[in-house]
Assembly symmetry: C2
Homo-oligomer: 165 residues x 2
């Protein structure tokens, strides 16, 4: 982890470093260009996503219901669009199949109510990533028909699903 | 895990199920077509790779220095080419940049002696995957300049590296 990431990191608020590292590797492997994060918080994971998207020629959009203290400063050097909106409403407003990788890291109890948008907005073969999926069992039950994947035991668990074409 | 995979699985010999699951998801996410495994053993992980490669329109080549008991039967229903050869010699004989995903699961002490072939044979943006990378520190030191990635804490650890273009 570079010194800037170290400085921004807030344990408890942010996903664990092992989670961010795997997620960033997956962005690169997927050649993801349109990368969307729901749950910006202080921007720490968006920095990881942005560094990976730089390698794929992509960009990151990160969405949160509120603007967290310090987030503008933390993300000022990165190609990241910040959107202040409800995550479900944001996804509902996106077109079919235009997102390459969607990372959910917001209010897990809400995810199921966002269905089918988290799957609808992804391109066939796109990636759904989700931190702490143990708290979103109802959402995973819905997603199970559309995605092939599983949860890697990094941090609080990182679900990675590949959208069946 | 389906009943067939359950039946073939040999704990201790094969990578752990969580490792195989993540690896198979990565094959799909990477859209890997030319998938190579070094270290066939009884074919268990090759079945996971083959099921994923079916989704990408790809195929799997798996290499081992010996033919393990039962491997032909285990792999008979899958699109897998079996090669009995030394892993390093096999990689040395492949062309530059033609493999999409290389999974190393053989004698870890030998990997460093195979350099630079594990990187040379991968396409730019291709994936190097390696089980139990803690036992291949010398190899990882060589790979560090060419790959961006890290080790996910599944099973004995699964290193996933993205070959810098």
């Amino acid at each position: 982890m570079n010194p800037f990431l170290q400085k921004v990191y807030q344990p408890g608020l942010n996903v664990e470093p092992a989670t961010a590292e795997l997620l960033a590797t997956v962005v690169r492997i997927a050649k993801a260009r349109d990368v969307v994060e729901i749950g910006t918080a202080n921007g720490w994971s968006a920095i990881w996503l942005a560094e990976a998207a730089r390698d794929t020629g992509g960009h990151v959009t990160t969405v949160d219901v509120q603007e967290w203290p310090g987030v503008a400063e933390n993300l000022s050097g990165f190609e990241v669009d910040r959107v202040v909106a409800d995550g479900g409403a944001y996804l509902a407003g996106r077109n079919d199949g235009e997102i390459d990788l969607l990372f959910l890291d917001a209010e897990r109890a809400e995810y199921a109510s966002w269905w089918p948008h988290p799957a609808r907005v992804l391109r066939p073969g796109g990636v759904l990533a989700m931190d702490n999926p143990g708290e979103a069992a109802d959402f995973l039950a819905l997603a199970g028909d559309c995605f092939i994947g599983g949860t890697a035991a990094v941090g609080k668990g990182l679900y990675l699903g590949w959208l069946k074409p």
